[in-house]
Amino acid sequence: MTRFPAIAPDLVALFAARGADMVDVPVIQPADPFLDMAGEDLRRRIFLTESETGAALCLRPEFTIPVCLDHIASQAGTPRRYAYLGEVFRQRREGGNEFFQAGIEDLGETDAAMADARSVADAHALLSLSLPGRALNVTLGDQSVFEAVLAALGLPRGWRMRLARAFGSAEQLEAALADLANPPKASVLPARVAELVADGDREALAAQIAEGMAETGLSPTLGRTPDEIARRLIEKAELRSVRLSAEAFSALKAFLAIRAPLDTAADVLEGFAASAGVSLGTALERFSARAQAVAGHGLPAGAITYDAAFGRPLDYYTGLVFEIAAAGAPRTLVGGGRYDRLLTLLGAKSPIPGVGFSVWLDRVEALRGGA
């Protein structure tokens, strides 16, 4: 059994003082939600097992998904803030396979700016309590600002989706941008299909594809549908005819290079929008409102940096993402963000907004020991 962190009782007291209710979730969880949400890459890092009936189970690798599932199952009212502190289990190269995490998941709060700011402040308070006197650096990103930039630059939907997916990974973003500047050559289509694509006749194209499916014994309903394939064929043809203009390209690069203290970040973004000749609309308004709400918590000035290129490559993060590290220690101590899509993906009947963070207590303990 991993040593219970010495700081645990203080953290539980902190959660209570900040108005979050402790929640307990089972260690053994259905594996599918994790693999569905985080992707197959997680498979080699979790401890999988099977029930007698063949259902895939795992030791909880994190708390966010179990807490959300628990919330959905119990049909609890919102808004509600759940705090947790417990062991998680992952196959890791360094450190033990079982270690403690703590955090807060804030579900159903409709004032996003307030909830986002509170999440950052809660995480900061937790670390300040655990590592007294240690300077903390918060890095903050916002997926929705990036998406607003893509839309404002007039990029077609297909490209926006592709770039938004690569957000947060410098390498993938680079590759996607290279593809957009210089699209790969078109593949050869059967003559009849090429004709229909050129005409943009989606209905006839779908009919043609449905025929092909029938001939090859592929179900038109179990997987991709004829219409879906037709639509994307036409969209691809359209995308090839558009080139990313040099101005748009350099504007994107300029945006991604933005790094600014949070208290001036909204102004910097406004300056960027003005020089690029675009409007970032509600995304910028929401960003400013959040920045102001964060300022209201009185965190040390200059401790929070907005990094325009900072993101998480998971499709349920929708807005704020943040990380906190201690000055002079490379490893991230806290990861958090807004996941407005997650609860619907997990089966909630109506959309429930959510924001939360998680603390790597093993890393915190290591810093405390070394202090």
């Binding site: 890459d41 593949s187 064929l233």
Partner: protein, 233 residues
């Protein structure tokens, strides 16, 4: 002092492996009873031969239970995590060629590359209420190729225990990752390999286990590897 060589116990792979060893001056004296799984090399009492299935050979090499063996590169990469820390490929043998490939239904006319598949996978959940499903026996290689090389995160692997190429038509998966030699099975099932969908060009290899061994055994292993390399050169 002695070393153990693992050879495939069945089929063409066994015959071809025996030919290579004979050519290398290491003739395997096959047991009179083919059902026996141990043999020796003619004139050498310091080399033992164990006949195992090709996938067992990969895992035995990984555990260091045998010193070297003949198996497919695909099985080595699939069976062993961190394969190159545990074993090394001493010589590709020029037979047992097979490609591990990503194949989609031929009628997916809009999908020619992994980037296309990335687009499709990203929107799949929203359209169909489930992730894109990939049928395969090669989950480790699939996961490395999709997640690490192409940054595709959102898909699910469904383990397939046989006839993987039938999964899309059966509706149990959308695309497959499978092994192919001539591509004819894929074509017969109306599947098409993506332009950049070759994960590995595999062939049978002499593979050596990386582990501590007495100097005499190490020299013996080096000699076997050298002889085999020269025989196939």
């Amino acid at each position: 002092m002695s070393i153990t060589i693992a050879l495939p116990s069945k089929g063409r792979l066994r015959e071809q492996a025996l030919e290579v060893f004979a050519k290398a001056g290491l003739p395997v004296e096959e047991p009179a009873d083919q059902r026996r799984y141990r043999a020796r090399i003619g004139g050498r009492d310091d080399i033992e031969v164990a006949f195992l299935s090709a996938s067992e050979i990969a895992s035995e090499l990984g555990q260091g239970n045998v010193d070297c063996g003949v198996t497919g590169e695909d099985l080595v990469r699939e069976t062993l995590a961190d394969w190159d820390a545990k074993v090394e490929i001493a010589a590709p043998l020029g037979f047992g060629h097979a490609d591990v490939v990503v194949a989609v239904p031929d009628i997916w006319l809009d999908v020619a590359t992994m980037a296309d598949l990335d687009d499709v996978a990203a929107e799949f959940r929203q359209r169909h209420g489930r992730r894109l499903r990939i049928a395969t026996k090669y989950w480790r290689m699939t996961q490395q190729f999709f997640s690490q090389m192409h940054g595709i995160q959102v898909y699910r692997i469904v383990e397939s225990l046989g006839a993987t190429e039938g999964a899309p038509a059966a509706g149990s998966a959308d695309v497959i990752v499978d092994i192919t030699t001539t591509g004819s099975t894929l074509r017969a099932n109306h599947l098409r390999i993506l332009d950049d969908g070759v994960i590995l060009k595999s062939q049978a290899c002499l593979v050596a286990a990386k582990r501590e061994r007495p100097a005499a055994d190490a020299a013996l292993l080096a000699e076997v590897c050298r002889r085999v390399r020269e025989a196939v050169a």
